[in-house]
């Protein structure tokens, strides 16, 4: 089974692109499955089900979404194998600009959209920096110049990635993307493979349920903002 990880900021067009991609791959119905990792709510289940795509949704809830992802990804792979998929696609929303659910040796796609602001590519960090392919969506509603500047800013952060412009509504561009997917590696397990980037360190008292504010409730790994006089 091939495994592909797709990540990107909320509402950047991940589901739209994945659905158009599956359509474009033209495989037997049900042979590509999706696992969506999200925080609290998601409306993606419906979109996938409507398209006849087998889907599993996981909510991290009170856990760090990144840690949740790593601790469930191998199970996702085993679910995919048991379901006899030819390909499994994971969709995860970039929730903190710091996450990057990419694994060494596994095709990593980052989806970002032209509407998110011209400097966004320079802000989103590992999510963009460690992707093999960067898909840029919503080019149909901004000017050519903005698309070019946006792409330039993406290259500033990740010069080795392939950029592909995809229209999530019409599917224009998914054709080239599907060519890469066909080359994705076949796997049986992720055991002993490594994440491309560490997940956020998260072992402070607030991780474990503390809600009170103040120095005396803060324990564990902390990072303090330094305020300078004005």
């Amino acid at each position: 089974m091939k495994l592909v990880t797709v990540a990107g900021p909320p509402s950047s067009g991940k589901t739209s692109v994945i659905l158009k991609l599956i359509e474009c791959m033209d495989l037997e119905k049900g042979s590509i499955g999706v696992v969506k990792f999200d925080c609290l709510t998601s409306f993606d289940k419906l979109s996938y089900q409507e398209a006849g795509v087998p889907v599993q949704i996981g909510f991290s809830g009170k856990f760090c979404p990144d840690h949740y992802y790593v601790s469930n990804i191998e199970d996702a792979v085993q679910w995919g194998l048991a379901s006899e998929f030819e390909m499994l696609i994971t969709e995860s929303a970039g929730l903190c600009n710091r996450c990057s659910p990419y694994i060494n040796g596994i095709l990593a796609i980052c989806v970002i959209d032209n509407l998110s602001g011209i400097n966004t590519p320079r802000k989103i960090g590992p999510l963009l920096r460690f992707a093999d392919i960067v898909v840029i969506t919503k080019g149909d509603i901004v000017s050519q110049a903005e698309r070019e500047v946006f792409a330039f800013n993406v290259k500033q952060v990740n010069s080795s990635a392939r950029l592909i412009f995809v229209n999530g509504i019409t599917g224009q561009g998914t054709f080239m993307l599907s060519k890469y997917l066909r080359q994705a590696r076949d796997i049986l397990t992720l055991k002993d493979l490594k994440l491309r980037f560490t997940t956020p360190a998260a072992v402070c008292s607030y991780c474990t349920g503390e809600t009170r504010i103040g120095e005396k409730y803060q324990m564990g790994m902390l990072k303090k903002l330094e305020f300078k006089g004005v």
Binding site: D140, S143, S159, F165, Q172
Partner: protein, 339 residues
């Protein structure tokens, strides 16, 4: 400079000097939150004053950052060979929606304008996306696109990805909160050419030639009217975009000087496709592709006779334009004006 020389240069040169030599280096520092770093020291020494944690957050150490810096400068100082020259584009027919063969072989040279006409659903957009992805008999239409007479292999298709085609359509808007000047400068900067000021000026002037109503360099993008935005997009695409092919989707009602627009675009030595219902635009083109049932049903070369009727159509259009201007200026419309 080769990589080793560049590393030596980065290790031994003050950041201040580097920023003078490579202004884009400022972006690199900002990307890693290092704008405030000492400029009188070379990068490795300057980094000693930075908390380790800052770099670690990006998954880097001093050496890693130096390597990234080197890669960044190599990338953005390389002369843009991007797509290479495209002197011709050929469309080899596939099949229409009824699976009937399209018997066309159409070669278009740089500087030519081709219009695409046909009812809604006839396959205009499909044709344009076949061109965009350099279809090789592997899309639903089974068309094939050649560049300079040669079928591009997959590697070339990927390399050209996104750079071959610039697109312009009625639905596009500016979403940046910048003035026209800032916007043009930003676009010029991303092209890394030396003559930014000159090209900004050129774009601005030609945009104003197209726009019904003039705007200034200090106008906010978001304050431009629909027509002014379209005019700026066209001028910008013609003068600044590197893409050798331009696809234009229905810009007729935009309140711009369409004749001038086609002229400016054609002058840029690009291959231009205009999907349109506007006779003035359709006949301005050297050839027009007639779409039917998802296929190219005909290709018509604009004849001398059509060229003549173009003059008459222009007259009608001028009259309409004149009426529009008068309406705008609060004047009275009389029958006299229609003669």
């Amino acid at each position: 400079m080769n990589t080793a020389d560049l590393i030596t240069y980065l290790k031994s040169t003050n950041l201040g000097r580097i920023l003078k030599d490579y202004p884009i280096a400022g972006d690199f520092l900002a990307n890693f939150r290092l704008e405030a770093i000492s400029k009188v020291l070379p990068l490795p020494q300057a980094l000693e004053e930075v908390e380790d944690e800052t770099l670690a957050e990006f998954g880097l150490d001093t050496y890693g950052l130096l390597q990234e810096f080197c890669m960044f400068l190599e990338n953005f100082t390389r002369v843009e060979e991007s797509t290479g020259r495209v002197s011709s584009l050929t469309i080899l027919g596939g099949f229409n929606k009824m699976k009937e063969p399209e018997s066309v072989e159409l070669t278009i040279a740089a500087g030519e304008v081709i219009s695409v006409v046909g009812p809604t659903g006839s396959g205009k957009s499909r044709l344009l996306s076949d061109i965009e992805c350099l279809a090789q008999r592997d899309t639903p239409t089974a068309r094939q696109i050649l560049i300079n007479g040669i079928a591009p292999d997959d590697l070339r298709r990927f390399e050209m990805g996104g750079k071959l085609v610039a697109q312009l359509s009625q639905n596009m808007n500016f979403v940046m909160d910048l003035t026209v000047r800032e916007f043009l400068e930003m676009h010029a900067k991303s092209r890394l050419t030396g003559n930014a000021a000159e090209i900004v000026e050129k774009c601005f002037l030609s945009a104003n030639e197209l726009a019904g109503e003039k705007f200034t360099l200090d106008t906010k993008l978001t304050q431009l009217s629909g027509g002014q935005s379209r005019a700026l997009m066209i001028a910008d695409t013609a003068n600044m975009s590197n893409s050798p092919v331009i696809l234009i989707d229905e810009i007729e009602n935009a309140g711009i000087d369409r004749r001038q627009a086609i002229k400016i675009l054609a002058k840029s030595e690009k291959i231009i496709f205009v999907s349109t219902h506007d006779p003035l635009l359709a006949l301005r083109a050297n050839k027009r592709i007639i779409m039917k049932n998802g296929g190219i049903s005909k290709v018509i070369r604009t004849s001398a006779a059509e060229g003549k009727s173009l003059a008459a159509i222009e007259q009608i259009d001028n009259t309409l334009q004149e009426l529009r201007n008068r309406l705008r200026n609060g004047e009275i419309i009389t029958e006299e004006l229609l003669k």
